[in-house]
């Protein structure tokens, strides 16, 4: 068990290392890439379109950063077992290994992106407020959401490859349903309860409350949702354990 996690972390750091070696600026890109993205959004929405909603750029960036972390990890891990190749025919390893490596790799990169985001907010006039102390809780809650969705998609896709196409469409729908590009004030009150059933929509909202308005989110709702994520993860782990050696039969054909 200990060796399993050593392997996961060793593989994840190896991936990060290998990736950084592919470019001249290497790991500096973990800062530059999100900076560039934020600069583009600032240019388009803040200067060219001059959107007047109270600081739309910051609003947009918080949503995007939180969404991108989720989106990137789920996309990368969903085919991780399917594309693991010959290795699953050679070593008896828990198939959780493959999505776990992706989750850790992307977690590490996302920490940099969040760092850049907070820098942007501080530079553009926001201040560190007392609600910041809840950020680690939000972070963990989102991580658990990402783990649950990543595990399930990676575990299901080898058996039902058609799901890969479906998951891409679902992610697209989720992106539009998470209130990234529009103000959530535009949503009619009677639909709002349903809107926040989408966990990404709710977590993005929480991050915005804390980072932009210095307000604490509804922690009870957050706790309930996180409990559901944990339950999903446990079910995924049980599924993985039960069908661990069935993957070789579907992946290698």
């Amino acid at each position: 068990m200990l060796n399993f996690w050593t392997l996961v972390f060793y593989k994840a750091t190896s991936n990060l290392k290998a990736e950084s070696k592919k470019t001249y600026l290497s790991f500096m890109w973990w800062f530059f890439e999100p900076m560039l993205l934020m600069a583009i959004y600032y240019l388009v929405f803040g200067i060219v379109l001059n959107v007047k909603t109270e600081d739309f750029v910051a609003y947009l960036l918080v949503g995007l950063v939180v969404w991108q972390w989720f989106f990137r990890t789920v996309t990368n891990s969903s085919s991780s077992i399917l594309e693991s190749g010959a290795i699953i025919g050679k070593v008896a390893i828990s198939k959780i290994f493959f999505p776990a490596v992706v989750i850790i790799t992307d977690l590490f990169k996302s920490i940099f992106v969040f760092f850049v985001l907070v820098c942007y907010l501080l530079i553009s006039g926001y201040e560190i407020n007392y609600a910041y102390y809840i950020l680690p809780v939000l972070f963990v809650s989102q991580l658990l959401l990402i783990i649950s969705i990543s595990l399930w998609s990676s575990l299901i896709i080898p058996f039902l490859p058609d799901m890969k196409i479906l998951i891409n469409s679902l992610l697209m729908a989720a992106m539009f349903g998470s209130g990234i590009f529009y103000s959530t004030d535009l949503i009619p009150e009677d639909i709002k309860a349903y809107f926040y059933l989408n966990p990404m929509a709710y977590i993005i909202d929480c991050f915005r409350k804390v980072l932009l308005h210095g307000q604490l989110p509804d922690l009870i709702y957050l706790a309930k949702m996180t409990l559901v994520f944990v339950l999903f993860i446990l079910l995924a782990l049980m599924f993985a354990k039960r069908f661990n050696n069935s993957y070789i039969k579907v992946v290698l054909r």
Binding site: N3, T6, L7, K11, I87, N245
Partner: protein, 226 residues
């Protein structure tokens, strides 16, 4: 032979589905296989293509689960001898060696401890920290072999692989592997080379269409196939 039993397979069957459709036929790869492996012995596995030899090794390695019957490995560490386990060409030779060791189930400390000997055997001292894509396929195989050689598992499964690399290293690795097989290492060896099989095995398992046709002595195998 009264030494301790290290692996027990009893009336095992393995089936694979032929396609994604749930209505597709199930193909039986292994059928009613029973065998026990004792500590220190070398079991040769012989059979024509598609007889289920590789699946039998996968079953022993714990990669495939039996659909019927049981496999008990009594907590022994079993691994397929593998030369490029999860190798990543973007990483250094050293990192790849560690990764291979971790995949084989060894701890980071065990691997670090053996690292010097591994590098020495591979003869890659000068390039061990260079990226793996700069290695020739022979060099990769040499490193892979050295890791597999020094990181001992309780039961070693060998599928058609003896000797790798250039002529000199091939000689060296074949010699080392034969030595290992003849020591009290427990080995399951799959090969089409009857001479080698009869030379190295204590017993030979003859597979035919996923069933055990017979378990013979190496001498009998030679006389039967002549």
């Amino acid at each position: 032979m009264n030494s301790e039993i290290v692996l027990d397979i009893s009336s095992v069957g393995v089936k694979f589905r032929e396609s994604f459709s749930i209505f597709s036929k199930e193909k039986t790869i292994l059928n009613d296989i029973s065998l026990t492996l004792r500590k220190g012995e070398t079991l040769g596995v012989f059979g024509s293509n598609g007889a289920g030899k590789s699946t039998l090794l996968s079953l022993m390695a714990g990669v495939v689960s039996p659909d019927v019957g049981t496999v008990n490995h009594f907590g022994n560490k079993i691994a397929l001898l593998n030369l490029n386990l999860g190798m990543d060409v973007r990483l250094s030779g050293r990192r790849n060696a560690v990764l291979q060791g971790l995949f084989l189930g060894f701890s980071f400390d065990e691997i670090t401890e053996k690292m010097a000997s591994i590098i020495e055997l591979s003869g890659l001292e000068n390039v061990i920290d260079c990226p793996f894509y700069t290695y020739s396929s022979g060099m990769k195989a040499r490193l892979g072999f050295s890791v597999a050689y020094y990181l001992d598992t309780d039961i070693l499964l060998i599928d058609e692989m003896l000797g790798v690399g250039d002529i000199e290293f091939r000689k060296k690795s074949t010699y080392l592997l034969k030595q290992k097989i003849n020591s009290d290492q427990t080995v399951v060896l799959v090969t089409h080379n009857i001479k080698l099989l009869s030379h190295l095995s204590d017993r030979v398992l003859w597979l035919e269409d996923g069933r055990v046709a017979k378990i013979t002595t190496p001498e009998e195998l030679v006389s039967l196939t002549d």
